[in-house]
Each structure stands twice: as structure tokens, then as C-alpha cells.
Amino acid sequence: MTENEEYVEVERDEFRAYCVSLCAERAVMLRLMFAVDERATDNCFKVYAVFSGQNKDTFYIPFFKIKEDDPKYQSITDCVPAAHWYEREIRDMFGLIPEGHPDPRRLVFHESFPADSHPLRKDWKISETDLKEWGEGVVKKVPHDFLKVEGKGICEIPVGPVHAGIIEPGHFRFSAVGETIINLEPRLFYTHKGTEKLFESMSFFDGIKLAERVSGASSFSHSIAYSMAVERMAGIKTIEKIKAIRTFLLELERLYNHIGDIGYMCAGTALMVGQAKGALIKEKLLQLNEKLTGSRFLRGINKIGGVTKDVFLQKFEISETIDMVEEEFKDLLKLLLGQAIHVERLTGTGRLPKEIAAKLGVTGVAARASGLSDDIRKSHPHLFYYKLDLKTYTRTESDALARMMLRADEVECSLSLIRALVRRRYYGNICVDVGEIPPDSFALGYTESPRGSLFYWVKSDQDGKPFRVKLRSPSYCNWPAVPYAIPGNIVPDFPLCNKSFNLSYSGCDM
């Protein structure tokens, strides 16, 4: 347990009222919600909700106990809408039932997964036939009905899970009149790999490898958030040099993602020059990553208690690439903003209203482009961020163009942060001693990944082994907001909207 986490136990029946008053009094939003199976020690499940706001570096964590024989609690979705996916996920994974939840369908599992089977329960077992039938997907065990939109001239367009481009799988159900979309219902979790359960069977030190592989394009952020949680559990204090290297690499990751995304959005408007140029700069940055860390996706560089290599030894390569990137990026932006067709297509496309974004707890670029100043680097300073001159940009237009321009602003910011970090000198080792991980401890790890805030909550068991790892990627809380940005747009603009959010499926599906 650490300084900025405030755990409060409440009664199951008071949980809802407590959350409501917390939201109202402290101006906080729901960051994540999860359950833990503690039947072996405490003879109950525990459900935690993590709230935090922009003004104070404190996480308010109310939790309640719930017994196996009466696995019901009052849903908080109607007053805290951001909870709607979490509650459904908890029902799928633990079988705890949120009473009064507006959506009774399953979230993670598709039709052929057996009913009343909850993988994150410690005593969960599944038969070979059930597993086989789940994969084959022929026998439908629990129905999943899409929302029916009826009326004259409305047609339904199912898309996916395998899409035309080289992207991840997800199913989208459009209801459209002519070209205009009336409703969109996504069906995700095709890439569900049981990551959270897998974490429990690995040691803390191997877990970092898995964390890196939750979502490829934010590998480093995931490893940072995971290692941070474990380090906080063990009470390890890292030194300045490690913090600086980690911050530097985080910004590098943001840089290549944002530039890649800006370039990639051009694919949605068929502006091939822009796409090629964006891909070129991204490639340069990926090559820098490889030179610095040996991996194009910054894998294997972070470990618990430090990093494996002092990347600042290669200052020359860094500044060379950064200079080149800055120049090329200016060029790219000039090109994009000079293209009337490109700007025209992006303006007013995929508008996500501020109120909806706030209610659903949207994070990252999507939140900031909708006028919410949500930046966990600023509100909960960690690593080296409290020493840097960090600006939080927001935009109010809330359309695809705003998201693109916001990324452009953040690229500038990341470039200057990287320069500032490289300029300083740091002394000391690149890793500190890590002893045993204390038993029965738990902590939160977090960071701002390129897509938004990212959380890990890790708990060890009585032998100091991983007991529960909950991860919440930014895509998980941004996906529910996408359907609100789509209606009113035309079907061919959907890929563009999707790319402007650029969410990870794998990070969301876990």
C-alpha cells in the first residue's frame, strides 16, 4: 500500500451511495473497477473501484466484500456510467451480479462460451469439450442479440471480425439509412487471450514480459505500469537516472505512436503521400528504438527495479534522429494542413461530445480533444514528470481534426521533453536491488501511454507470488465511447473515425 492510495472499506449496500457522493464531492472520475477472489483467505470476493481527479494526487479506492452464496450487488452504472463495462466484465469473470445494470448481455465471452463459467475464480475448471466447442463457435450457448434498429429504409451492415486492412479483429454492426449511420454496435474481445489469468501463473519478473505483450504499440507503457505496481508493493525506490531513462523511453513511444497515427489517418482520406511520409518518420523512430534497446517496440529494456541499458550513452544518435524527425514532421504537418481535401474530410467527422466523454471516463487523446484535461502525468506526477515542463493541451472541437492536431501538439511537447531529458547528466546505477516481493501486498501502477491513462493493480499472495493482476488499458475505456462518435457520419468515414481514435483491440480484449 502506498502514499497516494486511500482504501476505504464500505458495506456492500452502501457502496453505490458512497461512489455517488465521492464523485459529487471530490470531482473525481472512475479509473478502474475490478474484483478479487479472496475466498481462500477471507471467504469472500472483494470488489474495488478506483477514483481519482485532476486536482489532487490521490486515488480513492472504496471496496466491499461480497459472499459467494449471495453474489449480488447494486449496479452503479446508472449514476457512474463509466462503470458499465467493468461491471459486465466482473460478471463474466467472477459471476458477481450487478443488479439493475442496463445491459444484461455478456461482455468478454461470445456465444459459445459456457454459461456460469467464470475463469478468474481461483477454483475455475473447464472441460476439454467445452473448450473445443468454444473455439469451434458452432454451438451457441448464451445468446447475444444486437440492438435491432427498425424503420423504413434502414439496413444493417455487419463488418468484421476480419477487416480489409492489416488491423486487429473486431465486429461492427452498422444500422444505416443510405450512407448515413444511425447506430453502431461493436462486438469486441475476439483477441481475448486470458492475459489476467496468465499473469497469476507467472512470477513477477516474468510478468513484465507478458505486460509488454498486452498491446504491442504501447509495450513500454505497459511494462512501466506493471513494474511500477510491483515496485510500489515491494517498497523499492528507484533513483533519478532510472526515472529519467524510463521517462525518456515513454516519450519516445508516444512520439512514434502519434506520428504514425497522424500518417495513418491519411490512409482514411486516401492521401498516400501523407501516409508514406508518416510511415517514413515512424520507421526512423522505430530504428532508433532498435539501436537504443535492441527492440523496435522497446521491449526487454525495462525490468523490475530498473532498466537493462543506459540509453543516454547514445546521445549522439538520439539527437541526430530527433532533429531529423522534427524537421520532417513540420514538413508533414504543412503538407496535411495544406490539403483542403484532407482537412475537409476530418473537420466535423466523428464528434465525441464533451459530456459523453466525461461520463464514460474517456481518457487520453480522445478526452483531451473533447475538451477534458485528462493527463495522468500531470495529475499524478510520477517518474521524472514532476521535474519537467509539461503542458496539457486540450481542444474543444472534439472531431477527428482536433484529435489529429492534438497529436501534433503533443509531438512538439514530446520532442522538447526528450531534448530536456537528454541534455541533463545523471549519475548512479541503472538498476536497484530487488529483494523478495512481500506477501499479501498490493499496489497500483499507472502511467500515461500514447493512447491515454493506463493502470495495473497487482496483489501478491501469502508466498509473495502474483495473486491477482488487473490491467486496464486506455482502449478499454475509450471503446465504449466510439459508438457515440459515429452516428450521423457516413459509412465510408468510419475507418477514418476509427483511425482518429486508433484504439488497440488487443489491449482492450486482454
Binding site: 463457435g137 492489416i166 505483450r213 504499440a217 508514406a276 510511415a279 488487443s506 489491449g507
Partner: protein
């Protein structure tokens, strides 16, 4: 002109020479070109790939995306990614095959015309990699589709992917490649 045409008709000379096989019925033609032969003929020079994400972590996808950037420009080798399985010669599957993607992967494979090849890309497509043993994965593409070729790496850098693809194409056209899956 008329005279010329008349002459041509009399001498049975054709303006465009048809390959001999065209004098047979279409069904027969397909029979005479064996899958292996066709593979040598077609896949040796051009390869159309349908990429399917079967539960990957998306780093493998990004690397496949990078293949078409101006640096690797994989199209110059005759390799390209196509949107529909109907146009594809090869299915390039990434990820350990999550159970919820298994059916979609199989359906994509079935939708491809013969002859077809399967490439697994990335360590977790080989045997599940880091996800090995998870309840929600099939531990590798091999357990779902007949894999012909594997590209190692986590994720394999674009250079490796290009190299492996070219090796595959050369192997096919020289006839030394054993096409296991077809």
C-alpha cells in the same frame, strides 16, 4: 482487308495465338495444370497475402504495415496485401489463435481459392509463445491450419518478413519447396 481475313480463315491463322490448352474445355484445362505447377508459375513471381490477426498483440500487425512503407516497399517484389481472402494466395496469420478468433480464421482460410499456403508470423503463432497454456488460446496456428512456413521473431522485423517471403517464393519457383498445406 476482306481478302486478308478470308485468307486467314482459309489458312486457319489466328490473330492472337492462343495457348494450346485453350482448345480444351475449361474444366480440362484446370485439370492439366496441376496445383504444384500453377504454384510455381504464379507464386514464384507474385504473392498476394491476406493478413489475419488471430489474437496477436498488434506489434506483428504494425510490422506488416511497415512492409508497405517507402523503405521496405514490399510491392516491388511482387508481394502485396489484399483485402479479400478470395484474392489471396497466402494467409499470413499472427497471434496464438485466440479461441474467439478460431472460427473466423478457419472461415478466411476456407474462402481462399486453391492452391493456398499458410504462413505463421511471430513467435506466438508458432506455439503460443508467451501465451502458451492460456485457456483462451490454441497455442499456435499449427493447431488450426496446415502451416507451410514460419517467420520467427517477436515481432519479426520487416527485414526478416521480407527475407522469409522471398525465400518462400524462390523455393516455390525452383520446385524445392514442399508445399505441405496444399
Amino acid at each position: 482487308m476482306w481478302l486478308e481475313i478470308l485468307n486467314n480463315v482459309r489458312s486457319r491463322k489466328k490473330a492472337i495465338k492462343f495457348p494450346k490448352t485453350f482448345q480444351k474445355s475449361p474444366d480440362e484445362v484446370i485439370e492439366t495444370v496441376t496445383p504444384v505447377k500453377k504454384m510455381n508459375k504464379v507464386f514464384g513471381k507474385s504473392l498476394r497475402i491476406r493478413q489475419v490477426d488471430a489474437g496477436s498483440c498488434n506489434a506483428c500487425e504494425w510490422e506488416c504495415n511497415m512492409l508497405t512503407n517507402p523503405i521496405y516497399d514490399v510491392q516491388r517484389f511482387g508481394v502485396d496485401f489484399v483485402p479479400s481472402p478470395r484474392h489471396a494466395d497466402v494467409i499470413l496469420a499472427t497471434g496464438p489463435v485466440s479461441r474467439q478468433m478460431e472460427l473466423a480464421l478457419k472461415k478466411t482460410y476456407i474462402a481462399m481459392p486453391e492452391p493456398k499456403l499458410v504462413i505463421s508470423c511471430g513467435d506466438c503463432a508458432l506455439d503460443g509463445g508467451i501465451y502458451k497454456g492460456s485457456y483462451a488460446t490454441r497455442d499456435g496456428v499449427n493447431n488450426v491450419l496446415p502451416v507451410n512456413c514460419h517467420i520467427p521473431g517477436c515481432p519479426p522485423p520487416p527485414k526478416t518478413i521480407v527475407k522469409e517471403l522471398l525465400k518462400l517464393m524462390r523455393g516455390i519457383s525452383s520446385g524445392s519447396y514442399p508445399p505441405k498445406g496444399s
